[in-house]
Subunit: 221 residues, 2 copies
DNA sequence: AACAGGAAGATTGTCGACAATTTAAGTTAT
DNA sequence: ATAACTTAAATTGTCGACAATCTTCCTGTT
C-alpha cells in the first residue's frame, strides 16, 4: 500500500506508526482509553516511548489528552465528519489550485500515467482502487502544491482521520467509477494549467465524497 | 495581552509556553539549535520535560527535528512567509465564511463592541492596536467558525508562526488604520450573515497584509 | 438513604542514569 | 597534503524508579 514511506528510525517512531495503524483500522476502538503502562507492556518498550507516541497522536487530532488523566481515542461523530470535510474541501481545493501552478511537467505526466493504470483496475472491478488508489491520487496533488504547511497539515494531520472514518465505516461503495471520472477531470484541469477550475473541481469532488460517507454514517449509526 | 488563556497545568506546559514565547519574540534566534541538556539546566527542569516541549513545538512547525541529531528553530524566509500566508488566506477565509453562518448574535455584538473600542485607540494613534488588537479580532472570528479542526490548526499551529514573522520583522507600520477599516467591513458582512462576502473580504484583507509584510521582508533581508 | 470526607489503589508526570548514535578530532597511510 | 579510518566527546534516545495527581471505594455523619 504505502506510496510515501515514512521510515521509522527511532523506537518511538515504530510505536507511533503501529499505534496509529491500530487506531485507524479500529483494532483499538474509537473512544477507548489509552493506558501508557498497558501499551508499554504490549509493545515491549518503555513508557517514555509510548508516551511520546501518544503525544504525537494528539498533535494529529487522533487522540485527546487531559493532563493527569490520560488519553482517549477520538470518537467519530457526524459533526466531526462534517467539520473534517469542511477543512478538507478548503485545503485540498487550495492544493489543486497550487498544483495547477507548481507541478512540474514530469509530475503531471506521472499523474496521467497513474490515472491510466487505474483505469484498467476500475474497469476490471477491482475495488482495490477505492482505498489506496484514491489516496495516491490525492496525495500526489497535495505534494504538487509545493506548500510545506499545506502538505504537513494534510498528510500528517487530516488524512489519517479521513482514513479512520473511511475504514471504520466500511467504504466499499458504488462511488468508485464516478470518483474516477472526477479525478480525470481534475487532472485535465491541472494539465491545462487552469488553477481556478482545478480548485473548483476538487472542492466539488470532496463535497460528493462527503455526502457519500455521510449517508453511510446515517445507516451505521 | 493574552485574551485566550492557555493555562499551564503541568511542568511541560510551562516549559512549552516559555520556550515558544522566547522563540517567537526572537530571544532564541531563528535557525539556532535547541540543546536539550542546555535548556534543562536553564529552565531548572529535567530533560524529559524539555524534550516534550520541543516535541510540541515541532508539531507547531516552530522547530524542525532530525532523529539522533537535534532540533533547530525554523528559519524565516520569503518563501516560508508566502507559503504561510497562502494557507492563512484559505483557512481564515473559510473561518470568516463559517463565522458568518455560525456565530451567535451575542458573539457578533461583542465583536462590534471590540471594534468600537479599538476605534478610539486607532484615532488616538495607539499602535498597541497592531499587535494585540489585530490578533484579538482574528482570533474571535476563528473561534466563531465553530470548526474544531480549523481552530486547532490556526490557533495551535499557524498563528504563532505568523506572530514570529511579525515580531521579528518589527511590524509597526502605516497599515494600522486601513487594516481597521477592513476589519469593519468584515464584521459588517458577518453581521449581515453574508458568508461569501465575509470570506472574500477576509481573503483580501490577508492578501494586503501579506504584501505589507513582504515589503518589510525585502528591506530587512 | 444520601451525601460528605477521607484513605487506598491506580495512573500520569518527572527525574536521573544508562545505551545508542552522531559529530569532531586525531592518526595513519597513500 | 589529502583522504580514509579510528577513537573520543557530546548529544539524543530509552529505561526504570519515584513523586504528584486523579479515581474509586469505604467510612461516618446528618
Amino acid at each position: 500500500m504505502e506510496f510515501f514511506q515514512e521510515q521509522a528510525v527511532t523506537s518511538s517512531d515504530k510505536a507511533f506508526f503501529r499505534l496509529r495503524k491500530e487506531i485507524v483500522e479500529g483494532v483499538i476502538p474509537s473512544g477507548s482509553k489509552l493506558s501508557e503502562t498497558e501499551l508499554s507492556t504490549k509493545y515491549q518498550v518503555s513508557r517514555a516511548v509510548v508516551r511520546e507516541a501518544i503525544n504525537r497522536l494528539e498533535a494529529c487530532n487522533i487522540v485527546e489528552r487531559r493532563a493527569n488523566v490520560g488519553a482517549r481515542v477520538v470518537s467519530l461523530s457526524p459533526e466531526g465528519l462534517i467539520e473534517l470535510y469542511q477543512v478538507r474541501e478548503s485545503l485540498e481545493g487550495m492544493a489543486a489550485r497550487l498544483a495547477a501552478q507548481h507541478m512540474s511537467a514530469q509530475e503531471i505526466t506521472d499523474l496521467n500515467a497513474l490515472l491510466n493504470s487505474q483505469s484498467h483496475e476500475v474497469k476490471s472491478a477491482e475495488l482495490y482502487y477505492q482505498e489506496a488508489g484514491d489516496l495516491d491520487f490525492h496525495y500526489r496533488i497535495i505534494l504538487g502544491s509545493k506548500n510545506s504547511h499545506l502538505i504537513s497539515m494534510l498528510v500528517n494531520g487530516l488524512y489519517h482521520l479521513v482514513r479512520m472514518y473511511r475504514v471504520q465505516l466500511g467504504m466499499a461503495g458504488p462511488r468508485v467509477t464516478s470518483a474516477f471520472d472526477e479525478h480525470k477531470h481534475i487532472v485535465q484541469a491541472i494539465s491545462n494549467r487552469d488553477p481556478e477550475l482545478a480548485e473548483m473541481l476538487m472542492r466539488r469532488h470532496i463535497t460528493y465524497s462527503k455526502n457519500n460517507i455521510e449517508a453511510k454514517l446515517q445507516n451505521s449509526l
